[in-house]
Structures are given as C-alpha cells and as structure tokens.
Symmetry: C2
Subunit: 390 residues, 2 copies
C-alpha cells in the first residue's frame, strides 16, 4: 500500500468533502403523523373525508393515466432487462385510503398496457409508501392487501425534502396531504413578532401577519416539494396531486378553517379553568393551510422550467363528502390532531378536549354543512419536463 | 367506445389471466419476528451476538467489496441518468445491527469509488431494509442514523419469496437470519407421523426423522431464497451472507442447539404443574436450524447455474462473541423467542418461562461457554452469473 503523500491526503480530504455533500441529512424534529393503530380514534378508522377525495377523483385518475401515461416507454427489447414502474404515494398515512388509491392507479396502468396490446409485457410495479417518520408503518404493512399487483415498500421522512434516489420515480401521487405545513413559521410563537398568534391555534380570524406567515411557509414548502420531485422523477414522469383549497364565494359560506377556531376556543376554555396553561395554548398552532387556487397556480408557475401542468380541475368538496354526524365529524379531527396535541399538551387532555369540541359542534352545526363550506379540492396532473435538473 | 365482441371479451379474459399471474400473493400466517420496541427485553437491546457476527466479518465485507464490486459498472456517460445502487438487508430486524452493517457496506462502496478516482461520481445509494411483516419497522425508522449516505426504505415479507422487482438489486446482505426456517415442517406436529416431535421444542436429541424434516424444510427454504434472489439481482450482483452453522468436532463440545433442549424442559416442567397444557408444548417447536457446512455447500451447488461462489470462509463463533453473563444469555433468547412464545402460549407465561430458563442455565453453565460450542459462522460471497433467469 502506498504511503499517503500530502497531495494524496488533500485528494482524500476533497473526496470526503464530496461524500459529505452526498449525505442524506434528516431533521425530523417537527414530525407529526395521523393517529396510528386500528383503534376507535385511529386514522385507519376515521379517514372517510380523505377516502371521499380519492373516490371523487377515481375517474379523473383513470382519465389522466389514460391520456398521459405511455406504456411504450416501459417496454424494452428482449435483450434489455425490464425496469420496474415506480409509484410513490406521499403522505400515505396507515391505510386503507392509500391502498385504494394505489389499486386505482395500478389498475389504470394495467389497462393502459392492455389497451395498447402490451398486457403480457407489464413490468414489475413497485409502490413506495411515504409518510413522516412517526407514521405507524407497522399498521400499514399489517393491512397491505393480500392480493396486490405491486411490490410494497415504505419510505420515512418529510416530502418537503429528498426521499428517493435521482430519477427513479415514474408516478407520484399525493392525496389530502399537501395541506400540511412541514413546520410552523417561527414568528407565530414569537411574542415580539407582529405575527404572534396568541389565544388562537390557526390563522382563521387572526391578524393578517399570521395568515401571511402561514402563506410564506406554504410557498416555501411547496417550492421544496416541487424541487425534490423534479430530481426524483424520470423525464416525462407524472405527478397526480389532490388537496383541499379554499373557495371564497359568498359571505354566508363557512370558512373551512373555522373549525380550528372552534377547537381553539375549547383550549382557551380549558386554560381558563386551569386544566392547561395559557402559555401552552399560545404556543400551539395547527400547521394546516387551505390555500387559494390563485396562490397554488403562482407556485406552480415558479417551477415551470421543471413541470408542465397537464390538467387542473376544481372538484366541489360537497360532492365528495356527505353530511357527517357530530360523532363522525369530531372523530375526523381527533384522528388528524391527536398526535400533535399529545406531543404538546400531554395525552391526558385529549378526551376532555374532544368532548368539549363535540359540544361546540352541536352548538354550531353549520360548521359541518359541506354545502356551505368554502372548500374545494384541487386535482392537478403535472409532468416532468425533459430539461436540465435543478 | 367499442362494444366488446366475444373475441374481445376472450382477449380481455386472457389478459386478466396474465395479470393474475403477475400478482404478488403474500401469505404471512407464519410470520414471527424479533421482539420490537426498545424496552429491556427488545431485540434492539439484546442482539449483541448478532452484532458480534457483523463486527467479526467487517474486515471480510471490506475485502469482499474491494475485490468484487466494480464501481465502473455504476458510472455512466453524461447523457445517461445515474442509476442508484440498491442494497437489501434481509432479516434486518429493528436495529442497531442493521445500521452498523449498512454503514460498513456503504463505506466500503464509497472507498471503491474513491480508490478508482470516481469519488465525485458515486450514484445515490438506496438501502432496502427487509424483515417479516410483524417486524417493528416503526422502531427501525425512528432510530435510522440521522446522518447517513443512503436513502432508507423498508420492505415487509418473507425472504423465501419474491420481495423486489426483477433485476433491481446490486448487493444483498443477510446476517444471522438464514438460520430461521420460513415455517415448521407439518409432520413435526402430526401425531400420526414418525417425525412428530412430542415433549421437545427442537430437533436436538430428537428422533432422526425430526432432524430430517428440519433439514428438508431448510433445503426448500434456501432453494426458494436463492431462486428469488436470482431474479431480483442484476447480472454480476453480489450477495453477502453470514449465518451460524454447526461444527461437530469433539463429543465433549456442546451442541449449539442444546439450549433449546433446556428451554424445552422448562416448558415441560410448566406443563407438569399445570401452567400450560401438554398439547401446547407438543405443538410448539422453534423454527431454527444450524446446518452443516456440507449441507449448505450442496444447496449452493444446486443453484450454480445462477450463482458462483466467490468466497467462502468459516469464522469461529468463539472469536466473535465473548462469554456472557446468565442474564445477558437469557436475554438473547428472550428477544428472539418472545414473539413466537406469546403467539403460541400467550403473553402471561413469558416471565416465568425465562426465570425458569435462567435457573437451568445456572445449573448447566457450560451451555454459555462459546469455547465449547459446536458453532461456527459461515461467511459467503455469491455472484449472480450472466445467465438465463430461472
């Protein structure tokens, strides 16, 4: 073995520098996930809204794949080994919605091969289920459909960063997940900031600075999301996104985020009677946003070197979800928020909080009326352009 | 849309037939996994033997990769997108051993690129952590090294079947996992069979028919393992396997499987005092085998159309693991067996069983003496040949 010279040592140092740059550095402090397991308050048992979104766009998914997914790109000569079709579901949670979505997509892909006379040449399909590190992947795996046409894989981490090797994904799906911020904007809990959000847990009816801070974080998150996917998708790769958007039409409509105002008042009431501290309420905020379609379009426009918009359609939320009972309505929000409430306030307050919330919902039943909700669902199909990588 | 004719309907039927054949059918009834979580009895806290195996073969892994992994195969021209290097760890359990093994392998791969002057061209590396569906993947994800040079992915299922798409793996690793059978041979619990294993929980000191049934199942499992990997590995892909083998030298040595005889007598004692039923003991058997090197070589020879043996080395177990205390020794077996004992007898017997086992170990301390154990570790490097697929 050669003794390293100074030059050699320098070369090694610069190699190490290169390797350090290749490191996958994961910061998951802000990780929160839907309620795991299969118990009465679990996401698995309380995600009928999200199921409604997938049901409502099933036809669109079929049409989008039929128009935009070219099976011939995936069929090679006899000499070349067949490469798998890789599909990622970002923000998949624990099931069963993700299984339903993946069945819809894989069936649509099969039909594409079939309609092109290529049924015998369908490559292996690999589905990559992604959610935050704290997601209950054990429950996801336990309930994987016994008969499925894909190889199942789980990938932990925030979808605002890189999750997959370069140019390995053919189709990205994400349903009802892109409304969650990766983190709360710092200024929201900074008492010296004009965007400090005391006595509330969301931007609804908050000072404009609070809503602006949410919007800025959202724009940053979506930028990171698109930047990461631009690297991970193959050229011509597709991205099928569905997420709730606000739709301000009439003043008599109910702001979709009003529900967090209601939960916030429950927490304030609990602080008043000394169950929790006021400071804890002031520092708690729900990292969820219902952006306007205009804001979303602007963000996509900022990424038009990498992505072309192939399809954009607004679906009416009221057509996707039917009127719930108070109990079902409360359970939806409990499944989504329980994890972060436990982390912030402790597990012991959860039952009381959602009992109080149920009482408030009975008092203001309009909050459940999907007909009056200023909420739509945006369905978007993006395609990775054949251009230089970011 | 065309109305389907009879011919068309037949064509669709035959397509569906083809698609059905492409289905991934998973039967995981026999799934058992190491004890999850991070508690005092968890695998994560009680897997120092298995860590010893990886430690002991770290130098061999580096040498094997240095000799057999060609970085030039992974570097493409500027036009072609770089493809990730995919590494699977089969039977990974919950960590930390798998993280240590993957760090060793990925560092060795980096060094290969570096020593060929290709440090700036290392492709993305993807590690696929595999274990049975009931493995605690949540704990695995939670403890993933924060700074790592690979994208992490989990794949659930038995490694005796297909787990990954065709020709997608570059390196397969498996440490201390290939000693577990995929299932117990049926005849072991069939009271009409001469291989019925009443009053024991393993093949040690059992009639020859019992040991033969274990050996037949092992041979079948290893055949399935190699057959599946032959399809999943790329041409020239490597497989690094380490697993315990028996090494019958002197009669004064301790049979490595004697420990199960000892645990078996504890269960028989518990049946005698009525804590569990005799039938439950008769139907319980540990699906673990320490094959002879000769038996393993014969199995590999049966797969020599697909794999060439690049390296085979016997490592002395006693050099890899130091003499444990009774408590540590008992904890090893508890972490490995607790899951299947709970499934078979119920969780309430576990504490008593391992207290009784600790007493027996104190009575027969030779069982812990690694110097006297008839146990070695086989280190094997196989290469996927450039031949027709099975």
């Amino acid at each position: 073995m050669l003794r390293p010279t100074r030059m050699h040592a320098l070369a090694i140092k610069s190699d190490l520098e290169i390797m350090r740059q290749q490191m996958v550095v994961v910061d998951d402090d802000e990780s929160y996930a839907m309620k795991g397991g299969e118990g009465p308050h679990s996401y698995a048992k309380n995600s009928i809204i999200q199921k409604g979104l997938i049901d409502g766009s099933k036809r669109l998914i079929h049409e989008a794949i039929s128009q935009s997914f070219d099976p011939k790109e995936h069929v090679h000569g006899n000499d070349e080994p067949s490469k798998p079709i890789c599909i990622a579901d970002l923000g998949c949670s624990t099931g069963p919605n993700t299984f339903f979505a993946m069945q819809t997509i894989t069936e649509a892909i099969q039909q594409q091969f079939q309609s092109h006379g290529l049924a015998s040449q369908i490559p292996d399909i690999q589905v990559l289920f992604n959610d935050q590190v704290s997601n209950d992947f054990n429950t996801l795996f336990k309930n994987l459909p016994q008969q499925r046409i894909y190889y199942a894989t789980a990938v932990p981490g925030s979808f605002c960063g890189r999750l997959f090797p370069k140019q390995t994904l053919h189709l990205v799906h994400s349903s009802a997940a892109l409304c969650w911020l990766s983190k709360l904007p710092n200024e929201i809990t900074d008492s010296d900031s004009s965007a400090c959000n005391k006595g509330r847990i969301h931007y609804t009816d908050a000072p404009k600075e609070v809503a602006d801070a949410y919007a800025t974080q959202y724009s940053k998150d979506m930028g990171n999301f698109l930047h990461a996917r631009a690297q991970e998708l193959v050229e011509n790769g597709l991205m099928l996104l569905q997420f709730p958007v606000s739709n301000v039409l009439l003043d008599s409509d109910v702001d979709p985020a009003k529900v967090f105002e209601l939960i916030g008042t429950c927490l304030v009431d609990m602080a008043k009677v000394g169950v929790i501290s006021e400071e804890k309420v002031d520092s708690f905020n729900v990292p969820l946003i219902y952006p306007s379609v205009k804001a979303v379009k602007e963000i996509f426009r900022g990424c038009d070197e990498c992505f072309s918009i192939e399809w954009m359609e607004i679906l009416e939320f009221k057509n996707m979800v039917s009127l719930p009972t108070v109990q079902i309505f409360v359970s939806w929000f409990r499944a989504a928020l329980q994890g972060m409430i436990e982390k912030h306030f402790g597990a012991e307050i959860v039952d009381e909080l959602f009992e109080r919330f149920a009482e408030k919902v009975k008092e203001f039943p309009d909050i459940m009326d999907t007909d009056k909700l200023k909420l739509d669902v945006l369905f978007v199909l993006l395609r990775r352009k054949n251009k230089a990588r970011p």
